[in-house]
Amino acid sequence: MQQQLHQFQLAVEPLPNASYALTVLQRPFPASRNGRSLPSVKMGSIDGLALLSAWDIVLDVLRSNQHKPAAIQHDKKKRFGLSEESGVRLSLLFKAIAPLSNLDHIRVLQQAIWAMSDEEAYYWFSKCHGPNGRRGVHALRVLCGGVN
C-alpha cells in the first residue's frame, strides 16, 4: 500500500564478531529541519538468538516486499524498503523479542504478533512507541506471550 514511500526500512548492520543486527528504521516527518535531513529513527533491533529465531519471518517479510533474501550479507551494510504494514509488524516483533533469551517465549510472541490483524498490530505498535512505550512492550509480552 505505502510501498513507494518506504517509510520503513530494514537495515543490516554488521557486528564485530562476524554476525549482524537487523534494525527497523522509520523515516522521520518532516524529513529535514533547517535545511538538514534528519536521521531515520530506530524502531527496533535484534541480533543473536532473537534474530536466529525470527529468521524465517524476516525472510518472509523480505520476499513479500520483493527483495531477495540472499541480498542480506553479514559484512555489508544494506537497507531494504518495507511496506508500512511490514514495517509496523516487524518493528513490533523486534521490540517485543529483542531482550528475551527464552526461545519458547520468543516463539510464542512471534506467533501471536504474526497472527494479529493489521489493525491490532497498528494498535500495539502505537502503544509500544508512544510516550509509555516501555509499558506497552511489557503489556504486549504479558498479554500475547505470557512473559512476565
Binding site: Q4, Q111, A115, E119, Y122, Y123, G130
Partner: protein
C-alpha cells in the same frame, strides 16, 4: 471410528486404508515418512464419501468444503491460510491440522473433538513442529465456519455454522452504503472535541465560515475527495475550500484557521470491510435468540469479538483518515499522520492532530514564547509602518504559514516584551507607550485601540534624556497630570548614551547612523549585534570569522529538544576566540534547536566614529547574510 454405529469395523477400515494408501501413492505428498491422520486426503471424493455419506453424515461434507479442502470454484479457509506457505514449499499445515480435527470430530460420545495436544500429536512430524500446529489451530479458529471449541477445550467440526459463519452471513447482508453511513456517524464521534471546531463533510466554501474564530477542522467526506499515499497533493475540493469562502466563492480572508483531514483512498476498502464486520458482530450480539442458543464459551467469544471488532474499526478509521493539510506559504502542506500517533485509539483524536502540529512547530499554545523580532519580520505586514494590535492578532488567522495561535496571551506577552525592548512603540489614542517613557503596561487587550509603530515612525525620547526634576518641571511649566501623558521636550537634559537601529543589515546600519547623527554621537566604544531565531543565529555564526580578532564577545543562548524528555538549554558569554570549538559542538544539535538568540559585542578601544572603516567592515561582513538584526551603539 469404532464408536460410529454405521462404520463397518473391518471392511470399512480396510476400504478406507486402501483408498488412503492409493491416494498417497498417487500424490506422494512431501515429508510423508509415516501415514498419519492428517495424510487422509479429504479432497479425494471417495475418501470424503467414505467418512461422510457412508456414515449417514452427509452434512459433514459442508465443513470439508468450507473449511478444509475444496476442489470446486472456491477455496476452503485452510487452503487460503496455506497459500503463502505452499508458495514457498512448506507443508499445508492448516489443512493437515483441520483434517486431524475433522477426523476426531466424527467420533460420537464424550471423546467428540480433539484437545490441542491430541491434534499436535496427530499432526506433528519432522517438518511440522508442535508450536506450528497450535498456531494453525488458532488461525483456523479465527476464520473457519464450522470449527468450534467447547468449554472443555476440544476443537471440533460440526454441521452447525460457527460464530464465524454467523458473522460472515450477517456481514454479507450489510450493504456498503450502510457501512458508509456508519463510518460517517463514527467520524463525528471520533473527531468531535474542543480543540478544533469540526466541520464534517463540507462540500462548498460556504459551509466553512470565514470568521475570526477558533481553528476549524474540516473532515472531508471519503466519497467527495481522497488522496493516495503516493500522490498526496491536496485534492481540488480541499484547495477550493481553503481559498474560497461564502456562497459567492469570494477569496477566503482567514485562510490560516482551517485545517483539512482527508482519507487515504487505499485504506477505504479495508475500512468498509472492518465496518461491516463490526456491524455484523453487533447484530449477532443483539440477536437474543442467537445469543441464548450459544454455549457460555461461545457467548464469551462473541463478546470478545465485539470488543475486538470495535477496536479494529477504530484503528482502521484513524488509519484511513491519515492525511492532514494545513495552510503554508506554498499552499496547503501535507502532513501524513504517523501510525504510532494515529492508531492509539484514544478517546479524543483531535488531541493527536494537535500533538502532530505541535511537533511541527505549527501551534502556539501553553507556555510557548514568541520573540517580538520574529513577529516583526514574519507577522507584521511588511509595508506597514504601524499596525493595530487587533490587526496583528488577525494576521495569525489571515497569513498562511504562520503557526496556529491557540493561546492569544502569547501574543499579548510578545507585544509587551516588544514594547519593553523598543522593537516597537505603542500609541493608544493620544497616549504614547514606549520603553523610553517607562509606561509599558503589564497587560494589553487585543481588542483594544493600541496601535504599534515602528520605533522610527513614532518619535520619542530615550529615558536617559528625561531627568524629570523639579527644576525641569518648573521650566516646562510644571505641567500637571500623570507622568504617562507627559511629552518631554526633545534633546533636553543629558546626552543619549546609546542608540539602536534594527531591520535587515543595511537598514539597521543606516538607521544606526541616522540615530548617531541625531544624538550627536561622535565616537562609539561598543557595538552590539543581536539576532534571534535559528536561521539568523546560524547566519551570524557564519559571519563571526569576518569580525575583528580582538575585543569581540559572543553571548549565545540555545534551546534544543529531540524528544519529549530530551532537552538542552545552553547559555554562554565568551570571547570570540574561545567559542569556535563550542560552536562546532553545537552544530550537532542544529536540527533540533527550537529557539536561539545570539548577541555579539564589539568593543572599540580606542573608540571609533560611526562612519569609521571598522564599523563599515562589520556591515560589509554581515550584509552577505539575510538576517533581521538589532544594533546598539554606545557613546564613548
Amino acid at each position: 471410528m469404532g464408536t460410529l454405529a454405521n462404520f463397518q469395523r473391518t471392511r470399512g477400515a480396510l476400504r478406507l486404508l486402501a483408498l488412503v494408501i492409493r491416494d498417497l501413492w498417487q500424490n506422494r505428498p512431501q515429508g510423508t515418512y509415516l501415514i498419519q491422520l492428517h495424510h487422509i486426503n479429504l479432497g479425494n471424493d471417495e475418501i470424503a464419501a467414505e467418512l461422510t455419506s457412508r456414515l449417514d453424515r452427509p452434512g459433514m461434507r459442508g465443513p470439508i468444503h468450507a473449511d478444509i479442502i475444496s476442489s470446486g470454484g472456491h477455496t476452503a479457509h485452510a487452503q487460503e491460510l496455506d497459500a503463502s506457505l505452499v508458495e514457498v514449499g512448506k507443508p499445508p499445515i492448516h489443512r493437515y491440522t483441520a483434517t486431524s480435527v475433522f477426523l476426531h470430530s466424527l467420533v460420537v460420545g464424550t471423546q467428540h473433538g480433539a484437545l490441542p495436544n491430541e491434534v499436535t500429536i496427530a499432526t506433528s512430524g519432522p517438518e511440522i513442529q508442535p508450536s506450528m500446529v497450535i498456531a494453525a489451530l488458532s488461525a483456523l479458529e479465527e476464520v473457519a465456519w464450522h470449527l468450534d471449541r467447547t468449554a472443555t477445550g476440544h476443537y471440533r467440526f460440526h454441521t452447525e455454522p460457527s460464530l464465524n459463519k454467523v458473522v460472515a452471513d450477517r456481514k454479507q447482508d450489510i450493504t456498503a452504503s450502510a457501512a458508509k453511513q456508519e463510518i460517517r456517524q463514527r467520524l463525528r464521534e471520533v473527531y468531535q472535541g474542543q480543540l478544533f471546531t469540526p466541520i464534517f463533510s463540507p462540500s462548498t466554501p460556504g459551509e466553512i465560515d470565514d470568521v475570526l474564530s477558533s481553528i476549524a477542522l474540516a473532515v472531508i467526506d471519503f466519497d467527495s475527495a481522497t488522496v493516495t499515499a503516493q500522490n498526496a497533493s491536496a485534492p481540488p475540493l480541499v484547495k477550493t475550500l481553503s481559498e474560497r469562502a461564502g456562497a459567492e466563492g469570494t477569496f477566503r480572508q482567514y485562510v490560516n484557521r482551517v485545517l483539512f483531514l482527508v482519507a487515504d483512498s487505499g485504506q477505504m476498502d479495508r475500512l468498509i470491510d472492518r465496518t461491516r464486520e463490526m456491524l455484523a458482530v453487533e447484530q449477532a450480539t443483539a440477536d437474543v435468540e442467537l445469543f441464548n442458543s450459544l454455549e457460555s464459551i461461545q457467548r464469551q467469544r462473541l463478546s470478545d469479538r465485539r470488543a475486538t471488532s470495535k477496536l479494529e474499526f477504530r484503528v482502521a478509521l484513524c488509519n484511513a483518515y491519515r492525511h492532514l493539510f494545513h495552510p503554508s506559504e506554498d499552499g496547503l502542506r501535507h502532513v501524513p499522520l504517523q501510525p504510532q500517533d494515529n492508531s492509539t485509539a484514544t478517546r479524543n483524536q483531535q488531541q493527536t492532530l494537535l500533538d502532530t502540529l505541535r511537533g511541527l512547530n505549527q501551534v502556539l499554545d501553553g507556555t510557548t514564547k514568541i520573540s517580538p523580532i520574529w513577529v516583526r519580520t514574519k507577522v507584521w505586514p511588511g509595508a506597514q509602518k504601524s499596525v493595530p494590535v487587533n490587526a496583528l492578532y488577525e494576521q495569525f488567522f489571515c497569513k498562511a504559514g504562520l503557526p496556529i495561535l491557540r493561546t492569544p496571551t502569547i501574543l499579548v506577552d510578545c507585544i509587551i516584551t516588544g514594547l519593553r525592548d523598543d522593537v516597537w512603540r505603542g500609541k493608544e489614542g493620544e497616549k504614547i507607550i514606549s520603553k523610553g517613557r517607562g509606561n509599558v503596561p503589564t497587560s494589553v487587550s487585543l481588542a483594544g485601540d493600541l496601535v504599534l509603530y515602528d520605533p522610527q515612525e513614532l518619535d520619542d525620547v530615550i529615558p536617559a534624556a528625561l531627568p524629570v526634576t523639579k527644576l525641569q518641571r518648573k521650566l516646562d511649566g510644571d505641567r500637571p497630570g500623570s507622568p504617562n501623558d507627559y511629552v518631554p521636550p526633545r534633546y533636553s537634559g543629558a546626552p543619549v548614551s546609546s542608540v539602536v537601529g534594527s531591520g535587515d543589515v543595511n537598514l539597521a546600519f543606516s538607521k544606526l547612523l541616522d540615530e548617531c547623527e541625531t544624538a550627536k554621537i561622535g565616537a562609539i566604544k561598543r557595538l552590539s549585534l543581536s539576532v534571534q531565531g535559528v536561521d539568523s543565529v546560524r547566519a551570524l555564526g557564519l559571519a563571526l570569522p569576518g569580525l575583528p580578532r580582538r575585543g569581540v564577545t559572543v553571548q549565545q543562548r540555545i534551546e534544543a529538544y529531540s524528544g519529549d524528555n530530551d532537552r538542552l538549554t545552553l547559555e554562554y558569554s565568551l570571547p570570540l576566540e574561545r567559542t569556535s570549538a563550542l560552536r562546532s559542538a553545537l552544530r550537532a544539535f542544529e536540527g533540533e534547536v527550537e529557539s536561539a538568540e545570539m548577541t555579539v559585542q564589539i568593543v572599540y578601544d580606542p573608540p571609533v566614529a560611526p562612519t569609521d572603516q571598522a564599523i563599515v567592515s562589520v556591515k560589509n561582513v554581515l550584509s552577505a547574510y539575510s538576517v533581521w538584526i538589532k544594533l546598539q551603539a554606545e557613546r564613548a
